[in-house]
Symmetry: C2
Subunit: 275 residues, 2 copies
């Protein structure tokens, strides 16, 4: 063992002991398991985070913020109608840990990921919309990434709020009473909505700071080594330029068109309720 190694190992042991935990045994596998368990343990009174999952969602929309919540040791639950596996864009199924009924009445964070074809089904689904509307009415934070904000909008949760969404559908937000603000993450009172997919990491760090303070958010950022250096400048319509955007709009035309239909229908419902 080098001196540096000994020093670090001793420091680690003292930290463990200082925290009142038992010293991990040195049997390799069991120690690794124990260490992992300690890292993941959810303390009492941890913030309750309810993350909606649904068929055809985009995995990265969820995994970015979820990684942040987990490092913060929040009580993170994946919520859907039933405790079944739903499909994702990458082909890895995600399984709900709570049904809508099991989800606590009062959560600290209600979060909706994107996944346009699936989002549209959520927008048109009264069971999903009423679950979101109910928990969202009391949640400390009502949040989304990517097209998830369209589902929040369809549940009436963005009426009168600034919000954003994936660039390709953000223009649909006003159909449901929201003001579209073109920023990576938009906060308006207790609503926090992020742009497309990778905005979930920026969003995650911003909500981390709200839940646990800036220093904790910075700690998460260092663990995730979030010092992004995109090889190209093509991450927004402005950067990509009109020609590339038009090409993509054509490829997406079918999807975006039925999203508009859903947003228009939701807008009518929301206005009928509030008038």
């Amino acid at each position: 063992m080098s001196n540096e190694l000994t020093r670090r190992a001793l420091l680690a042991m003292s930290a463990v002991l200082a925290a009142g935990a038992s010293l991990p045994s040195l049997g390799a596998v069991q120690t690794a398991e124990g260490h992992m368990r300690n890292m993941m343990e959810v303390p009492p009174n941890a913030p309750k985070v309810a993350m909606l999952i649904y068929p055809k969602m985009v995995a990265l929309d969820l995994i970015g913020p979820m990684s942040v919540f987990k490092i913060l040791r929040c009580d993170v639950q994946l919520v859907w109608k039933e405790k079944i596996a739903v499909s994702t864009d990458v082909g890895i199924p995600f399984t709900a840990t709570q049904t809508f009924d099991e989800c606590p009445q009062d959560v600290n964070v209600l979060f909706v990921p994107g996944g346009l074809m699936g989002t549209i089904e959520c927008m048109n689904d009264p069971v999903v919309c009423s679950f979101l509307a109910d928990r969202g009415s009391r949640a400390k934070w009502v949040t989304s990434v990517c097209t998830g904000s369209l589902a929040l909008g369809a549940a009436g949760l963005l009426k009168g709020y600034d919000a954003t969404s994936h660039w390709a559908v953000a223009d649909l937000l006003p159909l449901m009473g929201a003001r579209h603000v073109s920023r990576r993450v938009v906060r308006d009172r207790n609503r926090m909505t992020g742009g497309g997919v990778t905005a979930g990491i920026d969003f995650g760090l911003m909500i981390a700071a709200e839940l646990k303070g800036e220093e904790e958010a910075r700690r998460v950022q260092l663990i995730l080594e979030y010092n992004p250096q995109p090889p190209f400048k093509n991450g927004s319509p402005e950067q990509a330029g009109a020609e590339r955007v038009e090409k993509m709009r054509q490829r997406r035309g079918y999807m975006d068109a039925i999203a508009r239909n859903a947003a228009e229908a939701a807008g009518k419902r929301i206005n009928a309720v509030s008038s």
Copy 2:
């Protein structure tokens, strides 16, 4: 239907017809399924991507690059000893789609994600190391994100190569014959290794450009809206500053110490083989 909507829908339909595909029916759910299926379909001769998964891995290390490969319609397989579910840091299990035996002899991309406690077990596991060494000897690209490079190193695949890893363990690479280069993504001949966790997205776009050309990589970037805007400057040891780094090194001391042991043992094996 607005004129804009009609125009977009028509453009989308023409694109579908031009591609020789059958016109999607307008029955909502079935159309969405069909659309989704078309989006995900893997064309013949798609690049073969073998992504190692293993217990205690970091989900985001995999999902970032996997999202890129999927949008590029690569033939993506999750590979492990058996077709079983492995645990991840966020608590969502990932299930292998191919065993080591089923993984093709020649793949375009061999990829290893991180997850330090699990990575260490891979480094110490002769079955995992010999699988990586074998496929890596013929793979067009040998790649990793985060601590995944330690497993490549333990398999002897980084000897004489520039490489990087998560900042906290990157100093272990030279123990296995690699030169540590402190960059977000390091390419040396057909090796491409990324830094910690979120570097997987930068890595994904860089390998996308190699597989399919820059224009396709840019298309992926626009879909993922990868225009990062971290709320804090704390994503590297330099940005975080000495005090925060030392604090984290103390918390990580136990993990990093056993990683060093594994790297030293691997280094001895590698030198024994080559001398």
